[in-house]
Amino acid sequence: MKILVVDDEADVQPLFLQRFRKEIRNHEVEFDFAQSGEEALDYLKDKHSEVVLILSDINMPGMSGIELLTHIREDFPTPPPPVVMMITAYGDDENYKQAMDKGADDFLTKPLDFNLLKEKLKTL
């Protein structure tokens, strides 16, 4: 299962790789990373069919996670559409409402609870 993580913080990458160490070793999941919405859309142009899950931070400079979500839903509607989970440090209603309006499948708050995330992955 290919997962794309979109976050402007570079250190998110080793964190995910270590957290999912076993799963990666057992080839249960595979991670790719993008540091901005623009980069994520570029990546998806070629690989949108492979990506099952997109985890995206909302608060990024330039294209925000919400904008990225809008683009994903517009540009890649071919079934099955990827599952998109939005992540934010601001767990406020407004962010949540916006994300859900634009077609997010789930909404997570930072700091990420990886055990919860793993539980969610099992249901996909």
């Binding site: 608060n59 330039g62 440090a89």
Partner: protein
């Protein structure tokens, strides 16, 4: 013939006596002048008997008059009567000459023909005294009027001066109060800008803290795994895990320091400036405040977003500066840039891509090496009409209650006055702005 000269001397003494009657010099000269007047009368009768020749008599009295006149001229007390005193010279000259000529020509026939002329001349010279006195009286009264007017003016000027002095003192007090108020305002401005950033700061601290927590958690798991691998005897894998743990600890330290830096910066920002210049890495400060300003605005207004571009020259030397002051300037410039792109976004909407860029580099100017930091945005720009006003204190284009109008004027004070740097602005309305700050590298 000589009668006029006596009369002139007598009148001179009497007039002077009368004139100085009410002055401090009166007691000094009163008796002397009285003496001269009486002496003249005495001389008139005495010399008349004593000197048989009228002409000689005339010359003697003329010389007496000359003596008196010369004496009076040397006395400062009679300075005021110079005109009157000088008016006697023609009479003295005429009297001496006339009588001398008479004496010399007594034996000639034709002299009598001239008698009348000499008499007339003496009369005219005598009259001259009165004429001069009359005009001098007029002058005196004119002078008196002028001096009275002068006194009035002096009083007026003194009153005005007192008034102005009082006003000046009041103004100085007011200036002192204003300076105190300004200092308070600056402090409040610092706190206000900090208040605006609270959410951003919280976010900026939250991020590294999340990493600290996450990496330490994952490291604990890795140690469990490592122990498992060691029990299995897979030393290679155990070593790989150990390397990961070491890397994680490095990350924890890095993010801990990052949070620490933000908290320290925040405290510095709110503290009154120490004004102590220290070698500082401008890039670090630029990066820190760039993100703070961005997240601060994001937290306030969810609709705001912008692309952040950093081109920081890694070889930039450290610069001697009051870091919290320069930090405030950058914060202000970033906030302005974000505000400008946000305003434009509101107007244009959809297709506009807000972009704010910060870049640093070293430049060589005639003054030597300087650090240049440029804050560039593609926002609404500055209208030409207000370009020369934006640095003025309390000038703001923001709606009432949103901006203090102190940001740029404080920035100017900090960069130009305190750090001997420059602020240059390039802006096109509707296209964007560039704020270029240069700081000398000591």
């Amino acid at each position: 013939m000589h009668f006029f000269t006596y009369l002139a001397l007598f009148l001179l003494a009497m007039r002077l006596r009368k004139s100085i009657k009410l002055t401090p010099a009166a007691s000094k000269w009163n008796m002397a002048l009285y003496g001269v007047a009486l002496g003249t009368v005495g001389l008139f009768f005495l010399l008349d008997d004593f000197i048989p020749s009228d002409e000689v008599n005339g010359i003697v009295i003329a010389l007496v008059l000359l003596g008196v006149v010369q004496f009076l001229k040397r006395e400062p007390d009679f300075e005021r009567f110079r005109v009157l005193i000088n008016a006697h010279y023609p009479l003295i000259v005429v009297a001496v000459v006339a009588n001398a000529v008479e004496l010399a020509t007594q034996n000639f026939e034709f002299s009598h023909n001239y008698d009348n002329y000499w008499q007339t001349a003496q009369l005219v010279a005598f009259g001259w005294i009165f004429l001069r006195v009359a005009t001098s009286k007029k002058q005196q009264s004119e002078l008196k009027r002028i001096s009275e007017r002068k006194d009035e003016l002096e009083i007026l000027v003194a009153a005005r001066t007192a008034e102005i002095t009082q006003q000046r003192n009041e103004l100085q007090e007011t200036v002192k109060e204003l300076q105190a108020t300004q200092a308070q305002l600056i402090q409040q401005e610092k706190l206000a800008s900090l208040g605006e950033l609270t959410a951003g700061i919280a976010h900026e601290i939250q991020n590294p803290l999340n990493f600290v927590n996450n990496f330490s958690e994952v490291s604990m798991e890795l140690i469990d795994e490592m122990e498992e691998e060691m029990a299995k005897g897979d030393i290679e894998e155990a070593n790989a895990i150990a390397a990961d743990i070491k890397q994680n600890l490095e990350k924890i330290r890095h993010h801990g320091k990052r949070a620490d830096g933000i908290v320290k910066g925040m405290l510095q920002h709110s503290r009154a400036s120490s004004n102590v210049k220290e070698p500082t890495n401008l890039n670090t400060i630029a990066d820190e405040y760039f993100r703070l300003a961005y997240h601060g605005l994001r937290a306030k207004d969810k609709s705001f977003n912008a692309e952040l571009v950093s081109n920081l020259d890694p070889n930039l030397p450290s610069i001697n500066m009051v870091s919290q002051d320069v930090g405030r300037v950058l914060l202000n410039m970033f906030t302005n840039a974000f505000y400008a792109v946000h305003q434009k976004q509101k107007i244009i909407g959809g297709d506009f891509k807000p972009r704010v860029e910060v870049s640093t580099r070293t430049i060589v100017t005639p003054k030597g090496q300087e650090a240049e930091i440029m804050i560039k945005d593609n926002g609404s720009g500055i209208p030409d009409a207000i370009k020369d006003k934006i640095m003025q204190p309390f000038f703001t284009t923001k709606p009432a209650g949103e901006g203090t109008g102190l940001g740029l004027s404080l920035s100017y004070d900090i960069i130009v006055k305190a750090h001997k740097g420059h602020i240059n602005i390039n802006s096109k309305e509707g296209e964007g702005s560039e704020f270029i700050i240069t700081l000398p590298i000591a």
